[in-house]
Homo-oligomer: 346 residues x 2
DNA sequence: GTTAGCACTCACAGCGTTAGAGTGCTAAGA
DNA sequence: TCTTAGCACTCTAACGCTGTGAGTGCTAAC
């Protein structure tokens, strides 16, 4: 069933009214506010239709109407007009998303912070995924006879480290140096999956040659790149979400905080959003993300100019200022991408 | 004014009763529970004295009594009996505080997690302070012509990195290698303050000799170790604190979360606790930590066997199961120290 | 010094009432 | 056929009232 011009306009009024006030919207309010002069009674008829179609519902008989998840969905998909940022808003984001002499991690953290501050919701940044990163440098530091610290730098300048445990004692310093050189020469510029397959291929080849050093090098690097590195998500401004009236319910508050703490479902969502292009809007329903019912998530990817690295966004109540937040998330992602672009290669 | 045996016992009953139930404790309850058989009326007289001395007060006329910050302070200082951990509790902590092939950061994070899980409050771990760490290894990775990534490994295996921006372009790979070797030879085993003064001394000396390479090396390392590295604090189990009834008040909840987010006041407190020996108990009063009014913090230091590295602990409402948490924090700190001890040197 | 007794206070829960907002329905008008 | 005015109805939230129970402070007797 299609929505005609009028019902569309009324749905729009309900969603925006509810977003603005937080109170259920009644027919009188809409009748007044509306350009197309209609009486409350007519509005009520349309509202009844909209309710039947599942776009809105009312908390109780004598309350106004509130958008459902389906209503929000429809709103963002077809009605929403993204407003452009004011120059001062742009500037505020720019100031925080410059690389300067910061580490990539810090840049991402600042991006999360500015998103949270400007939206008054919670900012999320999915750090560059391990599988998406490109090898730049590896380094081995012996900790004691059996424990070897491996430091790995990706093309985007992110430093990760891991510890590998030896069966027999660690090679000598000069041997380690040779191993380091060999790996840096061989693997530089490859993505992690490429690194993995290269290692496997080399290992096959090595078996015949029996060079102990190269063998060691390959074995070490296999241990490093084997298994998933856990993805990290930066969460900024959780306190903001506490101030939202929709989280005055203790049980609900707890659920969302547990979700923040586990990070797993957030990572999944952010990861999923990475498949897509441009700004994505997720609207919380019981089905999609259990713990984040009643929340919405707006995300966009950031790149290094060539490939997608990760995604960033804002999570808040479904009653969210979409038009503003979408613009912010979009612009922030652009700036982060730009900053990281200047950092690679050359 | 001294507290006699009886008032002591009654104060004890009030504090423990309130900790157990969360409800103000009345004279009848105490009169029943008490070994020294006293009537409610007598208890009331004593309670009036205790109130006058500022150890307890009542939320309103017809409610029981609740300990004040001073009351808690007195309780933990003179009455509190630390109970020892059960074998199964010990085991649970041990399982999570083993180093195995984990990174130091992960070990600390797990320590925070187990503290939060077992106490049902929030676990805090102050990561090894930059100034307290000992130099183990440094490494330079060029990012582009002007940006140099510096990776620094401390004796305790913690990896930190920083970016330094060059005025002119970065030295060649072989020069960098020489610089790296020079610094690793010169600085290994020194604490950061020692590193700083050594660099300064060498720089003085160098001025005469004019060796470009050494000059570069010193200049780079000066940039790295100059300025404070920001201290990091690991916070685990914030959701737990939401479940505490004392944080049902929105305004208060917000304050404490803001404090968690800023981390600054937490770091200050944890840092202060590092001066002292053994388990420390801080009881929130408006004066000491503004944002954490009504909270208590129990901390202990962890070491690497030789020197204090950082501190860890639990933050929760002042109405806290002190006897249990003190034991837990103490044991966890011991285990972490032990794990880190096995990791250094040799 | 201790205790029993008593009057008093206060928070809290339950209850009925009222005001206000908003609805659905119906019938009249365009 | 669509739109609107009118009306009865429903439900929530706020208010005030009351009774109850817990706990206190005071006083007088032991």
């Amino acid at each position: 069933m299609e929505l005609n011009e009028r019902s569309l306009s009324i749905l729009n009024a309900i969603v925006e009214g509810y977003i603005a006030s937080g109170e259920p919207v009644g027919s009188r309010t809409i009748a007044k506010r509306q350009k197309l002069k209609l009486s409350p009674a007519t509005v009520r008829n349309v509202m009844a239709d909209l309710e039947e179609m599942g776009y809105i519902n009312s908390p109780h008989t004598s309350a106004g109407r509130v958008p459902t998840a389906k209503g929000y969905r429809f709103y963002v998909d077809t009605i929403l007009q993204v407003r452009s940022l004011s120059p001062s808003e742009r500037q505020r984001i720019e100031e925080r998303c410059r690389l300067e002499n910061r580490r990539t991690e810090d840049l991402l953290k600042h991006a999360g912070q500015i998103l949270s501050e400007m939206s008054s919701y919670t900012g999320l940044v999915l750090a560059p995924r391990f599988n998406a990163t490109t090898f730049r440098h590896i380094e081995f530091v012996p900790l004691n006879q059996r424990r070897l610290l491996v430091i790995f730098v990706s093309q985007s300048g992110v430093v990760q480290n891991k510890i590998i445990e030896m069966d027999d004692s660690i090679p000598s310093a000069s041997e380690l140096q040779q191993i380091t050189n060999y790996l840096n020469d061989t693997l530089c510029g490859l993505t992690i999956p490429e690194v993995r397959s290269k290692i496997m291929a080399q290992m096959q080849q090595e078996k015949a040659m029996y060079d102990r050093l190269t063998g060691n090098a390959l074995e070490f690097s296999r241990q490093v790149f084997d298994g998933e590195m856990e993805d990290d998500v930066i969460i900024e401004g959780v306190a903001n979400i506490l101030e939202q009236p929709e989280f005055s319910d203790a049980e609900r508050r707890c659920r969302i905080f547990k979700a923040f703490e586990q990070k797993k479902s957030l990572i999944e969502l952010l990861d999923k959003s990475q498949q897509a292009q441009g700004v994505q809007i997720y609207i919380g329903t019981q089905a999609e993300f259990q713990d984040l019912d009643g929340c919405s998530l707006i995300t966009a990817n950031y790149t290094n100019g060539k490939q997608k690295l990760g995604s960033l966004g804002v999570i808040g109540p479904s009653r969210m200022k979409y038009s503003q937040v979408v613009a912010m998330v979009d612009y922030t992602a652009q700036l982060v991408s730009q900053a990281l672009k200047s950092d690679i290669g050359e």
